[in-house]
């Protein structure tokens, strides 16, 4: 992933910057997944995970 960025940007990334980029993308994907699973109102997702939401005590539901 970071090699693609290096080639694309023509830059040389340090390992630390590479880690931050990968972590940022990873956290974004995780956040989006969590949003769909625990906060979205799509009926299929909501009904499937309704009990999970309530079981976690801090996840709002209707």
């Amino acid at each position: 992933m970071e090699r693609t960025l290096v080639v694309w940007l023509g830059l040389s990334l340090s390992e630390r910057i590479s880690f931050l980029i990968k972590s940022g993308i990873f956290l974004s994907l995780c956040g989006a997944t969590l949003f769909v699973a625990l906060a979205s109102s799509y009926p299929v997702v909501h009904d499937t995970l309704h009990n999970v939401r309530h079981a976690l005590a801090v996840v709002p539901c209707h």
Binding site: S18, V59, H62
Partner: protein
């Protein structure tokens, strides 16, 4: 558990008793028997009178919300019960954790009034905290593994492919609560229920047959059909022509309201009505903190995973 309060010109005392005891109350667990005892200063119960009861939900937390954020800080119950030998009681299922505020206003037969507030603490189910802890541990573990994969040690260059999948959330049977706006109630001669929506109290009104010429003993219950739990009930309350109360349905599900009125010398009058409560989506202000908390767990795992791999390479 008994909580007492005294005051007023007539020196009445109001005692609150709950079963289970106050420290054992849990949200959506079992309906709680709540009873009030009103006595005079000498300890004798106030024979006649009525109590006006107002129950308010706990206020919103500082950061994380409960699973019913729309309920937080709202009015849950408002009703008037007659005193019988100084006692009045009802059953109620507390929907969320927190400190509930119960306001009791007693009006005796002599017209003297007295008011007192009680706080009813309801603790969260330990099982939910356990599931939350396990869920957070899982997120931390995912972050930990990703942190180790993303950390490239120069001497041992590894391929940093994203190997983690986030499909580990187990699915369980969802609820079958309808989200329709219609109040799917069947017509009833004795019960009148306004359109029920989460976030505001719903008025329930019972009317006696033919105008209710005689005093009836009314038993009324509200049952959560999905959870098969009684969320509110009163038993054998003497009423005249009609009786009404305000009840806040805490979630968008189906409920059944039953009433049985017993008039001496007559057949019991039974009524039943189904109520499809319109759910309200929780506000983003309640959803975002929980998501931030979970993402922070993953980020913490990332950091610890990187640190552990760096430490091992030294």
């Amino acid at each position: 558990m008994l909580l007492g309060a005294g005051g007023g010109a007539e020196e009445k005392n109001i005692y609150l008793k709950t079963s289970p005891a106050l420290g054992l109350l849990r949200p959506f667990d079992d309906p709680v028997n709540i009873s009030l005892l009103v006595t005079r200063a000498d300890g004798r119960p106030v024979e006649q009178g009525r109590v006006a009861i107002v129950l308010d939900a706990p206020k919103s937390g500082a950061f994380l919300s409960t699973d019913f954020p729309v309920v937080e800080g709202s009015r849950l119950l408002e009703l008037v019960l007659p005193l019988r030998q100084g006692r009045a009681g009802w059953r109620y299922l507390f929907p969320i954790r927190g400190d509930y505020r119960l306001s009791v206003s007693v009006v005796g037969a002599d017209g003297e009034a007295m008011a007192k507030n009680f706080v009813i603490p309801v603790l969260e189910n330990r099982t939910k905290w356990l599931w939350l802890g396990l869920f957070c541990a899982g997120l931390f573990l995912i972050g930990f593994i990703a942190g180790r994969i993303f950390t490239v040690i120069p001497a041992t260059v590894t391929k940093s492919w994203l190997l983690l999948l986030l499909g580990a959330v187990s699915s369980v049977s969802g609820h079958d609560g309808p989200s329709s706006i219609d109040n799917g109630a069947t017509p009833s001669t004795a019960l009148e229920i306004t359109a029920a929506t989460v976030g505001k109290p719903t008025r329930l009104r019972w009317r006696g047959a033919d105008g209710g010429t005689a005093t009836a003993l009314l038993s009324l219950s509200i049952t959560h059909l999905e959870k098969h739990k009684t969320v509110f009930a009163i038993d054998n309350v003497p009423v005249d022509k009609d009786y009404q109360l305000d009840f806040h349905f805490p979630d968008g599900a189906e409920y059944r309201v039953n009433s049985i009125a017993q008039v001496p010398g007559q057949m019991p009058l039974r009524s039943e009505q189904l109520v499809a409560v319109t759910g309200v989506e929780p506000p983003m202000t309640a959803q975002v903190p929980a998501l931030m908390f979970f993402v922070a767990m993953i980020a913490l795992g990332l950091g610890v995973g990187r640190f552990s791999k760096t430490l091992a390479a030294r």
